[in-house]
């Protein structure tokens, strides 16, 4: 009898115990969340000899990926499955097949945060380190390894990492080791807490290792780079400056030049209600930094050097002559002014008027060749710091935006562009392109749900492919539907016939889901239609895109 009771008691308490455990397990699991996103792009390609488009052997190409991230309080883990069957035209051809291209686990415990597996990271402005992704362009230089972040006191953040970089479905040869420290003085020092002037100082060391397997040259196996930066702000004014230095790093990019590299960037801004001013300048000398010295194209970059030019969105401006940064050498300046004429003022009218001015200038650096017979340093040139070389790019543009009535809105843009095709695009014996670009955009709202947007664009040039005109009509039925028609027209082309690039597209979106279907010819660049901007490669044919966030 007793033994039965005992067994029963034990049984009940066991059930009770396991119930408690189950409850705890439930509680823990119930805090967990899975989020993610999905995208698939598919294109059927048509032969189109008029614009030189060829049909690939596969006829039909698809890119897709799915991100899954599990988060539970301080812990998170995730994977990305990617599939290229085969990669769409314009994408790097290294993408082939399918697989888990990204997986990580990370936890944060108090001031310590650890990530193992793949991760992205940026130090400061990215001059010495930036691992990032741009899925629409197939750019991904994620690091696979270990990263540790630690908050030492208030305002002091330390980051250390080691790993190898992603090269499509493989990894690059080189090992990247990097350390960064940031100090926010106003947070760290109690006495500065309430000061109006805010100061942040940061420093980085980034080094790569790659075996010397060259029979002819003695190559540095370890290459170190350093960066120091400061951000100072006081009310309406702020200053962001960074300087970076790199020891000799002979590579395919720089023609196995043993010269040390350096890069400097400075940006200042002033802004108040209705007015914003920004000025920036940079100088880059021999600063291509990759974890494989023989890598080319967009592969295995450790650092990031943004172009100091306006990132245009109108397609003729964005896709025909966009400047690309020159890591081997470049000096550039850029200025921006944004001003809003207030409502009710003479130029502001009833709704106010917006004006944006932007100008950017980019030059090669000055280079004096070194005679290798007189100098055995294997430095290929010396450079005068303050002297410029040939012109690479110039863009001067103005944009005026105006709400005309409750239903009408207008935007007018003019840009004047000089573009060095030889250096930026690597073409031989071609003249500098000088182009005038004008864009008029209008939006008309029929009512709360129905609206139409119209764009007319003209690009006039006597060089390269001659003149272009673009017309866009976009009708949207908020919040789910849109239809758009685009025609780009190339005329007065000294090299070819007049050609239309037509494109029709329609889309539906609901919550985080979006489906777009398009047919026609399309140029490469940042492509904005139906309310979304995405960087797309050049294409021709029938195109389907599905994206989802959950």
């Amino acid at each position: 009898m007793n033994s039965i009771k005992l067994t029963l008691l034990a049984g009940i308490s066991l059930i009770g115990f396991s119930a408690i455990q189950a409850q705890e397990v439930k509680d823990i699991l119930n805090q967990g969340k899975i989020t993610g996103n999905f995208q698939v792009d598919a294109q059927y390609y048509q032969e189109d000899s008029a614009i030189g488009a060829v049909q690939p052997n596969e006829e039909f190409l698809t890119n897709g990926f799915l991100n899954l991230i599990y988060t539970n309080s301080g812990f998170s883990a995730g994977i990305r499955y990617e599939s290229y069957q085969n990669a769409m035209l314009g994408f790097p051809t290294g993408y082939k097949g399918s697989g888990i291209a990204y997986r990580f686990a990370s936890f944060t415990k108090d001031d310590l945060s650890v990530t193992v597996g793949n991760f992205y990271e940026q130090f400061g402005n990215g001059l010495v380190l930036r691992a990032y992704e741009e899925r629409g362009l197939g750019y991904d230089n994620a690091i696979d390894g270990i990263r540790v972040k630690y908050k030492l006191f208030n305002g002091i953040e330390l980051t250390g990492l080691v790993g190898q970089q992603r090269l499509y479905f493989e990894k690059g040869d080189g090992i990247v080791r990097a350390f960064n420290a940031n100090i926010n003085f106003n947070e760290t020092f109690e006495s500065l807490k309430d000061k109006k002037t805010k100061v942040i100082v940061g420093g980085s060391v980034v080094s790569k290792f790659q075996e010397d397997n060259n029979p002819d040259l003695i190559l540095p196996e370890n290459v170190a780079s350093f960066a120091g930066r400061t951000i100072i702000s006081r009310g309406k004014v702020s200053l962001n400056a960074e300087y970076a230095f790199k020891y000799n790093d002979p590579s395919l990019d720089n023609g196995y030049n043993y010269k040390n590299g350096e890069a400097a960037f400075i940006q200042a801004s002033y802004s108040q209600k209705g007015l914003g001013v920004s000025l920036a300048a940079k100088r880059v000398d021999n600063f291509s930094f990759r974890s494989d010295r023989d890598a080319s194209q967009q592969d295995l970059f450790i650092n990031y050097q943004p172009a100091l030019t306006k990132q245009h969105t109108y397609n003729l401006l964005a896709t025909l002559y966009p400047y690309a940064t020159q890591p081997n050498g470049e000096m550039a300046v850029q200025g921006d002014v944004i001003y809003t004429f207030a409502k009710g003022s003479l130029l502001g009218g009833k709704y106010g008027t917006g004006v944006q001015l932007n100008a950017s200038f980019a030059y090669d650096i000055n280079r004096d060749s070194i005679n290798p017979l007189e100098d055995d340093s294997r430095n290929l040139y010396t450079s005068n710091y303050f002297e410029t070389g040939q012109r690479l790019f110039r863009d001067m543009n103005i944009q005026i935006s105006k709400k005309l009535s409750k239903d009408w809105k207008m935007k007018l843009t003019y840009a004047n562009i000089l573009f060095n095709q030889e250096v930026v695009q690597g073409k031989a014996d071609v003249p500098m392109v000088s182009a005038h670009v004008g864009v008029a955009e209008a939006t008309y709202k029929f009512n709360m749900r129905n609206s139409i947007r119209m764009e007319g664009q003209v690009l006039l040039t006597e060089q390269d492919q001659g003149n272009w005109a673009t017309g866009i009509l976009e009708y949207s039925y908020s919040p789910h539907w849109f239809v758009a028609v685009i025609d780009q027209f190339n005329y007065d082309n000294p090299k070819g016939a007049e050609e239309h690039y037509y494109n029709v597209s329609a889309g539906y979106n609901n919550q985080g889901n979006r489906i777009t279907l398009a047919y026609g010819r399309q140029r490469a660049g940042i492509f904005c239609v139906g309310g979304v901007c995405r960087e797309v490669p050049a294409a021709n044919g029938l195109y389907l895109s599905i994206t989802s966030s959950f």
Partner: protein
């Protein structure tokens, strides 16, 4: 063993039913003065929050935020909503975020996500992408892209949330 399996089934079955609604992930972003800021600190006193991903180079994004800006004061007065604008501008343009935001006289809380860390954590494919959080911080709605007039639907949802109504379908 069977019991364990059954237990696990129950636990996971339960889990799929009542799994926590998503909240804003805790990610380090930057203020417009480039100071570090953790998104777990975003709050609005039990009122709804709009989180909008945008960029200075994205015209539909700017159209959306400028259109909302015209009505934002009324929205705040009526519902107490707060709009948090997350710029995904990288080093190329992040210095232009403050001049643009102030030049347009936006009254939003603006943060910069220069390396896409928050964008990745929230599963954002393209900009503009808008999330709506209820008073408890649960993500209850999202929308990708912008067409003229989308702001009216958004405000209807905000009004419902501010009254404590559910907006799930």
């Amino acid at each position: 063993m069977k019991k364990v399996l059954f237990g696990l089934l129950v636990v996971f079955g339960f889990q799929t039913n009542t799994m926590a609604q998503s909240k804003l992930p805790a990610v380090e972003v930057k203020t417009m003065e480039f100071e570090s800021f953790n998104t777990s600190e975003i709050s609005n006193d039990g009122k709804p929050i709009i989180v909008n991903f945008w960029a200075t180079w994205c015209s539909p994004c700017k159209r959306e935020l400028n259109n909302i800006s015209d009505m934002y004061e009324d929205w705040v007065d009526e519902t107490g909503v707060k709009l948090v604008a997350i710029s995904i501008d990288d080093a190329r343009n992040m210095g232009k975020v403050a001049p643009y935001v102030n030049g347009q006289s936006w009254e939003y809380d603006v943060y910069i996500d220069p390396n896409g860390d928050l964008k990745r954590a929230m599963g954002v494919n393209n900009v503009p992408h808008t999330f709506l959080l209820d008073g408890k911080g649960n993500i209850v709605w999202q929308h990708n892209s912008y067409s003229e007039g989308d702001e009216y639907e958004l405000f209807e949802l905000v009004k419902k949330l501010s009254k404590g109504e559910s907006i799930s379908k």
